[in-house]
């Protein structure tokens, strides 16, 4: 997996490219480490070709750690294969999910929408 960081509306946007599975999920550990848990984050999934439950676990960990500190992570642009994993596990309930990075970044400073 390739990780590209960019800034959008003063928010760090992390674009994931390729495969997020049990082999590559540890590459996301940095984003749940104490030094960055308070910083809001957008994860751009538009070039993520494949996600499995281990990759999902890494995203869930980031969400939990950030929320414990009053911050949040927003997800943007998931394709149908990625969406399927969120549907079956019901993980869509844990995340604010946007169709574009722009909208995710604008809302990144807000707490998670309650259902």
């Amino acid at each position: 997996m390739i990780i590209i960081e960019k800034i959008c509306h003063n928010i760090t946007v992390v674009a994931l490219q390729g495969t997020l599975d049990s082999c590559s999920s540890s590459q996301l550990h940095y984003y749940s480490s104490p030094s960055v848990t308070e910083v809001p984050l957008v994860i751009d999934l538009s070039n993520l070709d494949f996600l499995d439950s281990s990759g999902l676990g890494a995203l869930v960990e980031i969400a939990r750690k950030k929320r414990e500190k009053g911050s949040d992570v927003k997800l943007a642009c998931m394709n149908d294969k990625v969406r399927k994993v969120f549907e079956i596990t019901q993980a869509y309930r844990l995340f604010d999910i946007y169709d574009d990075v722009e909208a995710a970044a604008v809302n990144a400073g807000n707490k998670k929408n309650s259902l």
Binding site: T19, D21, S22, C23, F50, D52, S53, S54, L56, G57, A58, V60, E61, A63, R64, D80, K81, K84, V85, I88, T89, Q90, A91, R93, L94
Partner: protein, 144 residues
């Protein structure tokens, strides 16, 4: 019948899941009725990713190298993939955790059960064998 044998090392997980996706693609190409080929291929890609990950993650270190065997068998209108390992036995009905507790694991077998038409578990000669079958035209849970 296509067989692949791999060391139980996590660096091979994508090789396993890509192989599954490609086999499913070749198999579904022989069905004109397969109007959901993408979902069919993804079901195999994801299920094999989960099963291979488990085979590696729950391996018990031994003198001999642990090997994982992946087997594909097309039977008329159904494709079956089985993944076997030499790990301790496990419960294939393992209940998945409550998502609201922010679980970081525990969804592998749930995904497999939901993506596939049939899942069977057998224990034979000291090996686990999880066998997963799906029809290309079965849209129940496989559609993207």
């Amino acid at each position: 019948m296509i067989t692949m044998t791999l060391p139980a090392e996590i660096r091979y997980v994508r090789l396993a899941s890509l192989t599954a996706a490609k086999v499913a693609e070749i198999f579904s190409a022989s069905f004109t009725a397969a109007d959901n080929a993408d979902g069919f291929c993804h079901a195999f890609e994801l299920s094999v990713s989960e099963a291979f990950t488990n085979a590696v993650r729950y391996a018990v270190s031994s003198d001999q190298e642990n090997m994982v065997t992946i087997n594909f068998k097309g039977d008329r209108n159904r494709l079956t993939v089985s993944v076997s390992d030499s790990n301790p036995p496990f419960d294939p009905e393992f209940p998945s955790p409550d998502i609201n507790s922010y679980p970081e694991s525990g969804f592998g077998l749930l995904l497999i059960r939901r993506l596939m038409d049939t899942v069977t578990y057998t224990r034979e000669d000291g090996r686990n064998l999880i066998s997963m079958t799906k029809q290309p035209d079965n849209q129940r849970f496989g559609n993207l």
